[in-house]
């Protein structure tokens, strides 16, 4: 049942350059790269249960290794442009081995702090080492023609990225099927038992870390090939943060969850970037909501809905789902309205303008002018939020009335599934 779905997805991705504009195709390349990065991260954070908050380091090392290799080799010799991501992979793997050896000496919370510190170490060091990281302007390079392609058009770069992302995802999936992948899972589930069975815990941890770093390096290399340059900004804490956010918004419980989450978030970031300046705030809010109300992420939500449909039938779930969607849409509209109003109200331009005029000027938003001091303006987001809250409350009541016994069952299922990714960590932290 899943194979046709995957084949359709791949076919759709392959046909994408025929369907969308060049600008959107560029965004698609970024989505593919973000998806691969998130999947690589999820190998460590999801499968091995080790939360890294500094994955930008491996992405960045892969990127810089590739840009230097592109400059040094000029697309000739053994490594033509299409094979360049191998350099990123090797660099990521090497650096991942070293960093992982340090980081996996501790588990749980300390591990998280060490990864953050390693990334910050690089971030602090990179601007100083101008020879390697090129200072403010970064290092730039050119995509050289190879194998009959000139890599001049976005379409060719897209296919190159697509090929590498698909191969990497396949390799990551294959890893989850090997004994090593099963042991990685065991590392998260029950580290003590694994140790009693005689496995090398540190070695296993390093292997998961290094593999994750390797695929992050490939993602970094693809980024360089697409941008033809690398800047030390890739080591920024924001890059590390976004991969964590993407990954968990998508849901680490399933293999493709992080990829879907990353693609979705990158797409939204691209499509709203010229309309709002506070996209990161929305992303952070979404992440906090996901963490609090649906710890399995968006894919977990889809799965829960599917199981409800199976259990109660489509006809009974549909009105409930519609009610939830309506409530979510209203709340989202209220929040967006409020945040955008505040953003404009507190922006530097507006304050300067307000200082010049006697009464505060109105704010243009969604094609209308809103008076900032009028109560009616602020009643709009408040009303939207209240209506959304009311609908959500009604939906929750209907959800409870659907069939109480099965709901509790569902919740039990859900909570046992949800707690699995964190079992290992909770024990290690206390240990």
């Amino acid at each position: 049942m899943r194979t046709p779905l995957i084949l359709t997805g791949v076919a759709l991705l392959a046909a994408l350059p025929l369907l969308v504009s060049a600008g959107l195709l560029n965004a698609s390349i970024q989505m593919l790269i973000a998806a691969l990065f998130a999947c690589a991260y999820s190998l460590l954070a999801g499968r091995a249960g080790m939360l890294s908050f500094g994955h930008a380091a491996y992405f960045g090392v892969g990127a810089f290794a590739t840009v230097h290799a592109m400059n040094a080799l000029g697309g000739s010799g053994l490594l033509p442009t299409p094979l360049m991501p191998l350099v990123g992979a090797v660099a990521g793997l090497g650096f991942g081995l070293v960093a992982g050896w340090f980081a996996t000496k501790r588990s749980g919370t300390v591990f998280a702090m060490i990864t953050l510190a390693i990334a910050e170490l690089l971030h602090a060091l990179a601007p100083q080492l101008k020879g390697w990281f090129g200072g403010e302007s970064g290092v730039s390079s050119m995509r050289m023609p190879a194998w009959g392609f000139d890599f001049g058009s976005t379409t060719q770069v897209y296919y190159l990225s697509l090929a590498w992302v698909l191969i990497s995802l396949a390799a990551l999936y294959f890893h989850s099927r090997t004994p090593l992948g099963r042991l990685t899972l065991a590392l998260r589930e029950n580290p003590h038992r694994l140790r009693f069975l005689g496995y090398d815990m540190h070695g296993l941890g390093v292997s998961a870390f290094a593999l994750s770093a390797m695929f992050s390096g490939i993602a970094g290399a693809l980024q360089v090939i697409s941008n033809e340059s690398a800047n030390y900004a890739v080591f920024d804490a924001g890059v590390s943060a976004s991969v964590v956010l993407n990954c968990f918004i998508g849901g680490v419980g399933s293999f493709l969850g992080p990829a879907l989450g990353a693609a979705l978030m990158t797409f939204f970031g691209y499509s709203v970037s010229d309309r709002t300046q506070v996209w990161l705030l929305y992303q952070g809010m979404l992440f906090v909501l996901v963490m609090m109300y649906m710890p399995d992420g968006l894919t977990g939500l889809v799965r829960a809905t599917a199981s409800m449909v199976r259990r109660h039938g489509f006809a009974r779930v549909l009105p409930l789902a519609l009610l939830w969607v309506a409530a979510a849409a209203l709340v989202a509209a209220g929040v967006v309205f409020g945040v955008e109003m505040l953003q404009r109200l507190f922006s530097q331009d507006y304050r300067a303008l307000a200082r010049l005029t006697a009464s505060p000027p109105p704010i243009a938003l969604f094609g209308r002018n809103w008076a900032t001091s009028a109560l009616s303006t602020w009643l709009v987001p408040a009303g939207l939020l209240a209506a959304g809250g009311l609908l959500g409350w009604g939906a929750a009541r209907r959800f409870g009335a659907l069939s109480p016994a099965s709901v509790t069952d569902d919740e039990k299922d859900a909570s046992s599934r949800e707690s699995t990714p964190v079992l290992g960590l909770s024990e290690q932290v206390r240990a």
């Binding site: 249960g49 939360l51 908050f53 340090f102 000496k105 501790r106 749980g108 919370t109 300390v110 998280a112 702090m113 060490i114 953050l116 510190a117 390693i118 910050e120 170490l121 602090a124 060091l125 100083q128 080492l129 020879g131 390697w132 804490a237 943060a241 964590v244 956010l245 968990f248 506070v278 990161l280 705030l281 952070g284 809010m285 992440f287 906090v288 963490m291 609090m292 710890p295 945040v339 505040l342 953003q343 507190f346 922006s347 530097q348 909570s415 949800e418 707690s419 990714p421 964190v422 079992l423 960590l425 909770s426 932290v429 206390r430 240990a431």
Partner: protein, 313 residues
């Protein structure tokens, strides 16, 4: 050799400041097993609250107000956010606080803009404490150090000499038993979280006026505080103190040293070789100062993985 005395003093005071932030973090971690990623965000909130209040109520009341507000926000985070996800385990709590720190930073950018704000110490406090050689030493730095020391003494006395302290300490080790004895452990947790946040807020309100108050300050201090707790040993107040001072002194002394590894290698006649290699070997120690704490952390992990004063892993 004045600069050595100055660097040492600066370093000690910066270390005491780091300690003010890391003390709350260590306390919260020891109690709930939660690494509060948003802890440095309370430091930033403290600075911004004080900046906002300063105009209307004056400097000292603004600092007191900012401390209380940061504490309230902290208690709210525990009550309405952390408690909800407690049943999903520590990883979720860590991720949630990570998300919250992200949201707080973005909110600060929304309200105050993505640039440093003009939060300064009042002129009446901007005086020299003493003169050493040619340079004056600002009294405000000494004040910062004094506040940190007073806070350390207060926490220590509160934890070891009072009834509240006994309940808190026992709630760290045996929460269920304390609950069975009729204490409201949830309230204790919320209180400790709030106090920890308030301490971070106090540190931010005081330090923000001296250093810069910008949306980046949470990350900068947060990372340094994480290094402090790893080096000192997670959950140990004494370790946090020792590591804070060590890192404070290390960074501030290193900033003043204008030498590179090539200069050292010159003693064995290898300067030319070092200069031909370039890279790290020719970088001045002063420009590497920001990276030294991380290097120290890796060294500690190598030699003593549980931290200077931490328990066995």
């Amino acid at each position: 050799m004045d600069w050595i005395a100055f660097s040492l003093l600066n370093g000690i005071i910066y270390g005491l400041l780091l300690f003010m932030v890391s003390a709350g973090l260590t306390l919260i971690f020891g109690m709930m097993g939660v690494l509060n990623f948003a802890h440095a965000s309370f430091y930033m909130l403290g600075a911004y609250f004080a900046y906002t209040l300063q105009g209307s109520v004056g400097f000292v009341p603004a600092i007191v107000g900012a401390t209380l507000l940061a504490g309230l926000v902290g208690a709210g985070v525990e009550r309405w956010f952390l408690r909800r996800v407690h049943r999903y385990g520590h990883a979720h709590e860590l991720l949630l606080t990570f998300g919250l720190s992200f949201v707080i930073a973005e909110l600060i950018k929304l309200f105050f803009g993505n640039y440093p704000v003009d939060y300064r110490i009042p002129r009446s406090l901007d005086v020299a404490a003493f003169v050493l050689g040619q340079q004056q030493y600002p009294a405000y730095r000494l004040l910062m150090g004094a506040v940190a020391l007073a806070m350390f003494a207060a926490i220590y006395l509160l934890l070891t000499r009072t009834r509240v302290g006994i309940v808190v300490r026992s709630a760290i080790y045996k929460p269920r038993m304390v609950e069975a004895l009729g204490h409201n452990v949830q309230l204790v947790f919320m209180g400790v979280f709030g106090v920890g946040a308030a301490l971070a807020g106090l540190a931010g309100a005081i330090a923000g006026a001296f250093y810069t108050t910008s949306p980046n300050m949470a990350l900068e201090v947060g990372v340094m505080v994480f290094v402090v707790v790893v080096v000192g040993g997670l959950g140990s107040l004494g370790g946090a103190m020792l590591a804070s001072l060590l890192i404070g002194v290390l960074t501030s002394v290193a900033v003043g040293i204008d030498r590179s590894a090539a200069d050292v290698l010159a003693f064995v006649g290898a300067r030319d070789w070092a200069e031909s290699v370039g890279g790290l070997l020719t970088l001045k120690l002063s420009s590497l100062a920001a990276t030294l704490p991380f290097a120290l952390m890796l060294l500690i992990l190598l030699l003593r993985p549980s931290g200077l004063m931490g328990d066995k892993d």
